[in-house]
């Protein structure tokens, strides 16, 4: 029998396990490189050229160029690594986290000021909370649909 992965049924959540880590190895190692100021400069000067120095998949490069953190995560990115991209862009952790929900910055900030997202309906896939797939994207982007 394979190992138990009980965390597969939590909505809107990817657990960074060995499988994800293997998938995202070069994407995450690229992110680590942005901890050096000179690499941040080189990346900002020509993002595509800098990305091409890394053994990332084309999809991973596209996800980074698009600054789509959910997409980055699906291709094996981990938020603590991806945060180095946000830092390079001058973004805060709140801006980065919010960007994954579809909310505007203000909507997300207000949600947090009001006590954050409730766990109600968001514990198991198939419930009806705001983090469930059927309610994406959230916020004004979601309401447009």
């Amino acid at each position: 029998m394979a190992l138990d992965k009980p965390y597969k049924d939590v909505p809107g959540t990817i657990i960074f396990d060995a499988e994800q880590s293997r998938k995202g190895y070069w994407l995450n190692q690229f992110c680590m490189s942005l901890m050096k100021a000179e690499n941040r400069e080189r990346f900002k000067a020509d993002e595509r050229a800098y990305l091409d120095e890394w053994a990332m998949t084309e999809e991973q490069k596209q996800a980074v160029l698009a600054r789509d953190l959910n997409w980055c995560m699906r291709t094996g990115g981990n938020i603590y690594f991806l945060a180095k991209i946000g830092a390079t862009d001058g973004k805060s952790f709140q801006q980065m986290a919010g960007s994954m929900t579809g909310m505007t910055e203000e909507e997300y900030r207000n949600m947090m000021l009001n006590g954050g997202r409730s766990a109600e309906g968001n514990r198991y896939l198939g419930e009806d909370g705001d983090a469930q797939p059927q309610h994406q994207p959230q916020g004004s982007a979601g309401k447009k649909g």
């Binding site: 939590v10 809107g12 992110c31 952790f93 709140q94 986290a97 997300y108 947090m112 766990a119 994406q136």
Partner: protein
């Protein structure tokens, strides 16, 4: 003989560090949070330790995917604050305690904990933000610090029970050190938060406070919390709370001594994406 006199628990949100470094602590958003640490700063002055054993996690800073230690103990003479992408925090460098750290490493490995010994490492907000919260903005940190990094980034992370048992082993190690040192053990990270995906921003005030009750009064029960409960109830990054169990396991009552004194308890939402919890327990 060295002894553990107290344990301190606190979240280590990076935005808190930024608020301190940028002089924003008196802004409306941050004021109630920092007010919760006024007691703690005074308490630190009144209860200055000789060494802080600081349990935290590295956030893809010192450790990349090239090498991921489950438990890493710093035995170096000093540690520089890392550049996590925003530039290094303008805080003092961290002075280590190589003798005590090596002693603890030796003792704890002989108690069947398979530590990684680290002599060169930069430290990130996981370690420096708790120091800032408890000590403010001094020219130098008040005492040497032994960094103890726990993997909570790549699964599987160590279980709460494993962490709690490690705390017991650390207490034995400290008490077998010849020098007469006042040692505090700090557990950091948590409480409920999720930084990723459609579920980002999850906060669970009730669960957090019930877990704090357990941590204080029934630590065995807190230690028995399975990983999946942290994820489901406290968000994917809520798993950081296992680190608090290392500090709790090192308290005297766990080894048959008297119950600790609850010197301070504080809870606040939000700091950026996170619920901030903070407790100080004293051994009598």
């Amino acid at each position: 003989m060295a002894r553990i006199t107290a344990s301190v628990y606190t979240s280590h949100v990076p935005a808190i560090g930024a608020a301190i470094d940028l002089g924003k602590t008196q802004e409306d958003y941050w004021k109630p949070l920092f007010a919760g640490y006024d007691f703690s700063k005074q308490w630190m002055k009144d209860n200055k330790p000789d060494v802080i054993f600081l349990v935290y996690n590295d956030h893809a800073t010192a450790f990349s995917l090239d090498l991921i230690p489950t438990f890493a103990i710093g035995t170096a003479a000093e540690y520089q604050p890392a550049d996590e992408g925003w530039g290094p925090r303008p805080v003092p460098k961290v002075i280590g305690h190589p003798e005590l750290a090596s002693h603890i490493a030796q003792s704890v490995i002989q108690q069947d904990f398979d530590l990684t010994i680290v002599n060169k490492m930069e430290v990130d907000h996981g370690l420096t933000v708790p120091l800032s919260l408890m000590c403010g903005q001094p020219e130098a940190w008040p005492c040497p610090v032994i960094p103890f990094a726990v993997n909570v980034v790549q699964y599987p992370v160590p279980s709460g029970q494993r962490c709690y048992n490690l705390g017991k082993a650390i207490r034995k190690a400290v008490e077998s050190f010849d020098q007469d040192l006042n040692v505090q053990i700090w557990g950091t990270g948590g409480m409920s938060h999720q930084l990723q995906g459609a579920r980002a921003g999850l906060i669970n005030r009730d669960w957090d406070n019930a877990w704090l009750d357990q941590l204080i009064n029934d630590p065995e029960a807190a230690a028995a919390t399975p990983h999946i409960d942290y994820v489901r109830e406290a968000g994917s990054e809520g798993i950081e709370l296992v680190m608090w169990l290392i500090a709790r396991g090192a308290m005297a009552d766990v080894a048959g001594g008297p119950a600790p004194k609850l010197a301070h308890r504080f809870y606040h939402v939000p700091a950026s994406n996170t619920a901030v919890g903070h407790v100080i327990l004293e051994n009598s």
